[in-house]
């Protein structure tokens, strides 16, 4: 065990190695580690935020879906109401129209009946006249018995 100049050389070498390690080894590696740590932290934060966003979005979509459903059912209800209204309207109109048609028909029928009666009357008076003429065996002067005939027609 003899101490000599190697001691100084080793000390200087040691100092140089420490300096080199500090400057070119430690700093870049620690920087890389720090950068990765930051990256990971950022990534995790992003993931967290994305998760929150997703939750928010799903909540909103559920909300929108619910609103849409409500609106749809409202629209359907409105449609139903409107349809029944239209049907009611149509029913009313149809009834009125039907009534009108029935009334017109009735009036026409009455008129027809009346006309037929009138015709019948005239025919009956002619038949009666012809019958009477035949019964009497002679020509009845229509002019002379006009009054009588008219009275007869009126009676029928």
């Amino acid at each position: 065990m003899n101490i000599n100049a190697t001691l100084l050389a080793q000390t200087i070498m040691f100092a140089l190695f420490v300096w080199f390690c500090m400057k070119f080894v430690w700093t870049p590696i620690i920087a890389a580690l720090e950068a990765r740590k930051k990256q990971i932290a950022d990534g995790l934060a992003d993931a967290e935020r994305a998760k929150q966003d997703l939750e928010l979005a799903s909540k909103r979509s559920a909300e929108i879906l619910r609103e849409a459903k409500e609106k749809a059912s409202e629209i359907v209800a409105n449609g139903d109401k409107r349809a029944s209204e239209i049907i009611e309207d149509a029913k009313g109109q149809a009834k009125v129209e039907g009534d009108r048609i029935v009334a017109g028909a009735k009036a026409e029928i009455e008129q027809e009946v009346f006309r037929a009666k009138e015709q019948l009357r005239t025919q009956v008076s002619a038949i009666a006249l012809a019958g009477a003429g035949r019964i009497l065996g002679r020509e009845i002067d229509a002019k002379a018995h006009n009054d009588l005939l008219d009275k007869l027609v009126a009676e029928i």
Binding site: I3, F14, P28, Q39
Partner: protein, 247 residues
Amino acid sequence: MGFWALNLDTFIMSLLLGAVFMLVFYSAAKIAVSGIPSGLQNFCEWAVEFIDTSVRGSFSSKNNMVAPLALTIFFWVFSMNLMDLLPIDYVPHLMTALGVPFFKVVPSTDPNATFGMAIGVFLLVLFYSVKMKGFGGFVGELTLQPFGKFGLPVNLLLEGVNLIAKPISLALRLFGNMYAGEMIFILIALMGSTWVGFTFGGVTLFGSQILLSLGWAIFHILIVTLQAFIFMTLTVVYMDMAHQEHH
């Protein structure tokens, strides 16, 4: 061989080992990215984090120099100690064949290497003591405690021994462990060198050498790592003490 002799074996081996260590870590640091690390970068990052954690554990002040210092010490001492595990005669015999009659493979069995490092650490401790506490504070720490100003000579003696003991214990612990380990390797190796042919004693000694050197080498893997770690941890602790005010 006066004081100005240079132990070239120690010098070259430690320079070589330190250079290899620096080269490996430098090539990892050069390609260090924050993305997915490759194998070498992984290893170096693991080492850096390991050192960083243990430095953070025992060093409470803020100094960007301590962690790289610890990294350098750990891997340099570790690689120097690791030369212990090379078969004991191979490199010296090779060097003898090349014309160098004496070659010591394990630099940490040379007290010049361990004291060189310990003195480097000691200078840093002195520097940071003065820097953090001021010259007056440092001198006060050496002279005014533990017995107050009237016990000044006693204080100086106690604290001076305390201070000097730091580098000496650092250097001698590493040197002693490595030197003793190497000595035992040599003693074990002597068993086989008594080979006299296939006699009972010769075979027994030969087998004993194999088994014992295997056992001792396996045990030494632990010693090698432990001594490097102790040197590093003590350095960090001394640096921490240099940074802290005594109360």
